[in-house]
């Protein structure tokens, strides 16, 4: 299968202190890859490096056949890469509608933005009922729907999703995971999913990557990873 994202020898960190040490990763188009690992493994830094928020000190990132070097974050967004950060990143001072509009603004085509927003309202009915509510008036689940919906308004090809289940009820987590699977199957969306909730992530992922202390320690099909008791016990804590 053609790779949408290929990462090789990626090293990155903060203030000269490396957090990622030579990461290799291959993400075929139309698949979900779960990135797993304990706190401090470097999962969030990996997503921040891929979306351009952290500049790598070494290694290559090839996205859709082109190497990303000194590419600005807004340019990456235009090329179909969306990043939903940890903590959801809903702008508390803007309304639901404004948050969603923001997701598609780079398109400049108003009709396209409106169509994208209508699709999101269809996917997440609670948001349609709270269009004029401010971001800080939403529940945790609604805020996660908004963050995800805002990313989808941009119609991304690659979605980087950081801890979408954090602080949510099991029922909402199941809904979100089900939606990701549906989007992959129906639209060919490619997802790189960072999750602490290993069981949920592996239940929808095609492949799993286990990270520890800034390194990839295991890559395997999700089913195999879920069944590997030794690996689970060593790195995933269950």
């Amino acid at each position: 299968m053609t790779a949408l994202l290929e990462v090789s020898g990626l090293t990155a960190g903060y203030d000269g202190v490396p957090v990622l040490h030579g990461i290799d990763l291959r993400l075929p188009a139309g698949t979900i890859c779960a990135v797993l690992g304990a706190n401090g493994a470097g999962k969030t830094t990996l997503l921040r490096t891929l979306s351009g928020l952290v500049r790598p000190s070494a290694g290559r990132i090839v996205y859709d056949g082109a190497e990303l070097r000194d590419v600005s974050v807004p340019h990456l967004v235009r090329r179909g890469l969306a990043h939903v950060p940890e903590g959801r990143g809903v702008i508390a001072e803007l309304t639901v509608e404004e948050n969603l509009r923001l997701g598609g603004l780079w398109r400049r085509d108003r009709r396209e933005i409106r169509r994208g927003m209508a699709e999101v309202y269809e996917l997440f009915e609670p948001l349609a009922l709270r269009r004029k509510h401010l971001g800080h008036q939403l529940s945790g689940g609604e805020a996660q729907m908004l963050a995800l919906g805002r990313a989808l308004v941009a119609r991304p090809r690659l979605l980087l999703l950081d801890e979408p289940s954090l602080g949510l009820a099991p029922r909402i987590i199941a809904q979100i995971m089900g939606l990701l699977r549906r989007l992959r199957d129906d639209t060919g969306l490619t997802v790189l999913l960072v999750e602490q909730n290993v069981r949920s992530a592996l239940s929808i992922a095609d492949e799993g990557v286990v990270m520890s202390l800034g390194r990839v320690v295991a890559v395997a099909e999700a089913d195999r990873l879920a069944g590997d008791a030794a690996l689970r016990h060593a790195y995933l804590g269950f």
């Binding site: 967004v77 702008i91 001072e93 800080h136 941009a154």
Partner: protein, 292 residues
């Protein structure tokens, strides 16, 4: 009663200018959490540009629009060249840099134009028109009200009805999230500074002709009043800046009118202290938004 009416109208007219200037401070505060102490002297610099152009062309309006354009450019340059380097630094750095800019601008303008007060004309008469035997508004007061009202409406439309306004708000509230959504955050901050400096330039052009005239320190007292207005309204609130400006204008007018003009600086200070003690966030401060 006639005097009260006169002082009220005079206070509202002055307050409208303070409101505009306070709005300039709020625009920058919301975007960068910096109080631009150089806002006053930047407005003076643009008024000097107007003075030169009006002197050369004989047209008030040529000078007026050059001042606004100069404000736009000056705000963008100051942000790009100077303030960008301290936007992420501790707050004191920005304060010191802004105060440094005040000294540089005041010194430079003094060297170019001298330290005497220069006359800046008004486009309309400042003689109050009489209504029912009471001298109330001058044509210039009406011009000030109309201009400030148009400014407020334009800014409100920009921020609530346009994509650029939405980008600017997103960049101000959550710069990192805005970047992840494709917003050019640096560009929006520059635009915010440019707009604020334009608003400041407009306030300068409206208020300087009503004082002693053009001088490198001509906006110092106006800055204090406008800063008070912004704090009274709540530094985060554009509506608060407008209301705060009108409140400060009225207080100064009443105190000056009934107790003598020498007491007005004390009145500003007293107002500032009372508001900071009673409601430190300002009259229009919103409750701290919950992070989601």
């Amino acid at each position: 009663m006639d005097r009260f009416l006169f002082l009220t109208v005079d206070g509202l007219s002055r307050g409208a200018v303070y409101a505009a200037f306070a709005l300039a401070l709020v625009l920058i505060w919301r975007g960068t959490r910096i109080v631009n102490f150089a806002q006053g002297v930047m407005a003076v610099a643009t008024s000097y540009a107007a003075y030169s152009v009006t002197g050369a062309t004989g047209s008030y309006w040529a000078g007026f629009f050059v001042a606004l354009l100069a404000g736009l450019v000056l705000g963008a340059v100051v942000e790009r060249v100077v303030m960008r380097h301290v936007e992420q630094a501790p707050p004191l750095n920005a304060v010191i840099v802004a105060l440094g800019l005040v000294l540089v601008f005041q010194g430079g303008l003094g060297m170019i134009y001298g330290s005497q007060y220069l006359p800046l004309p008004t486009p309309y008469s400042r003689v109050a028109m009489t209504v029912g035997g009471v001298p109330l508004l001058s044509r210039y007061d009406l011009f000030v009200f109309g201009t400030v009202l148009a400014l407020m409406l334009s800014l409100a439309l920009l921020f609530t009805r346009t994509a650029t306004g939405l980008r600017m708000r997103a960049a101000a509230f959550e710069p990192q999230v805005a970047r992840l959504l494709g917003v050019n955050v640096g560009g929006m901050l520059t635009l915010g500074w440019a707009l604020a400096a334009l608003v400041g330039a407009l306030a300068g052009m409206l208020v300087i002709p009503t004082g002693l005239g053009l001088h490198p320190t001509a906006m110092d007292l106006v800055f204090v009043s406008a800063f008070t207005a912004a704090v009274v309204g709540g530094l985060d609130s554009p509506l608060g800046a407008v209301v705060g400006g009108l409140v400060v204008g009225l207080v100064l007018s009443y105190v000056g009118g009934y107790l003598g003009s020498g007491t007005t600086p004390l009145a500003v200070l007293a107002l500032l202290v009372v508001v900071l003690l009673a409601r430190p966030g300002g009259l229009f401060s919103a409750a701290q938004a919950r992070r989601v």
